[in-house]
């Protein structure tokens, strides 16, 4: 899932204070899973904002809604009828959803309400960690199912570096050394021979470095 976290409310207040009618639009997809932008979070944010503006003596109408997803036109279409009565929308979807809304509703300011952080997993309720860097050319088969790009701070292909100690990364003791994990896993799988073969430089063209990316699946097109 794409993991995000709520923006500080001060930042959101700053962006909307010039308006009078705001719609808070959540997303029932990824941001619901990481408790940053689902209906629950929409309600909490809307209530807090209403109280803020009431206290400030400023007229502010705050609407609440949550869409199935904001990355598919069939769902963001649903706002078509209601969006007209708002001056702006604060979208709690990930960056992709915010942008898609902005593309469909060109004349309406669409503001982000969360900071989109990474592709990751739920380790336990309330704790989400990064797993995938979307490099476009998955090599998990050769590293025991652990990604050296997402989980090594230096994205080394031939790690670990000399700063790995006690299974932790030199950057932060809270971060596991990705290459320690890979080594342990390859050992458990009986694949340590993979560890000793030098891996050649990666082709980064398929990752962000190559420019904005696109996938076309002909059989799915109408």
């Amino acid at each position: 899932m794409i993991m995000a976290k709520a923006k500080p409310i001060e930042e959101i207040i700053d962006e909307i204070k010039e308006f009078k009618r705001i719609l808070i639009a959540g997303c029932n997809g990824c941001v619901t899973v990481c408790e940053a932008g689902g209906m629950k979070e929409v309600e909490v944010l809307a209530s807090a904002l209403r109280m803020y503006f009431k206290k400030a003596g400023q007229d502010m109408e705050i609407g609440e809604i949550s869409l199935t997803r904001q990355c598919d036109k069939e769902y963001i279409k649903e706002l078509r009828d209601g969006i007209g009565k708002y001056d702006a929308v604060v979208s709690l979807a990930c960056g992709a959803g915010v942008q898609f809304l902005a593309e469909m509703y060109e004349t309406k300011p669409i503001l982000p309400g969360v900071d989109t952080c990474f592709i990751g997993v739920t380790e336990e309720p309330g704790v989400w960690t990064e797993r995938c860097a979307a490099c476009g050319e998955c090599m998990l088969a050769s590293t025991g199912g652990i990604c050296p790009i997402a989980r090594c701070s230096k994205r080394m292909a031939n790690g670990p570096c000399g700063g790995s100690s006690d299974g932790k990364c030199e950057v932060n003791k809270e971060i596991a050394c990705g290459w320690q994990l890979i080594y342990d896993r390859l050992k458990a799988l009986g694949q340590l021979d993979r560890f000793e073969k030098p891996v050649s430089p990666k082709n980064w063209k398929t990752s962000r470095d190559g420019g904005p990316r696109k996938i076309i699946r002909e059989v799915s097109r109408q």
Partner: protein
């Protein structure tokens, strides 16, 4: 057991079912304060409901701080179901605290008081 008449009680089977939005909406609709009375820690009939409630009260207090409203308007108390006098004590304490803070700052002059 008698307690001040300005207290409105909302009964729940376990404070674990109190969500942040309940606390926020209560203040939004004009309550001057909310207290969550849960069982003593370690005594929760549903194991950890009261611990969750405490976390949620802390979370709501942070939100209140960020919008300039006194976080002390939302408080967690722990007591056992049989402690009637303690409940009354808490009610009095809370009422005093809120009186000192004054009315909910979101209420403007001449506003009609909304019921919960």
């Amino acid at each position: 057991m008698s307690y001040p008449s300005n207290i409105r009680i909302v009964k729940v089977p376990c404070t674990g079912s109190v969500a942040p939005i309940h606390l926020l909406r209560t203040l939004e609709k004009g309550a001057d304060g909310v207290f969550v009375a849960g069982c003593l820690e370690g005594d929760c009939h549903y194991q950890a409901g009261n611990l969750r409630a405490r976390k949620r009260v802390d979370y709501v207090q942070e939100i209140l701080k960020s919008i300039g409203i006194e976080p002390e308007r939302v408080v967690m108390y722990n007591l056992s179901a049989g402690e009637g006098p303690r409940f009354a004590e808490i009610a009095v304490e809370m009422t005093e605290k809120i009186r000192q803070l004054g009315p909910n700052p979101i209420k403007r002059q001449g506003d009609v008081k909304e019921t919960a």
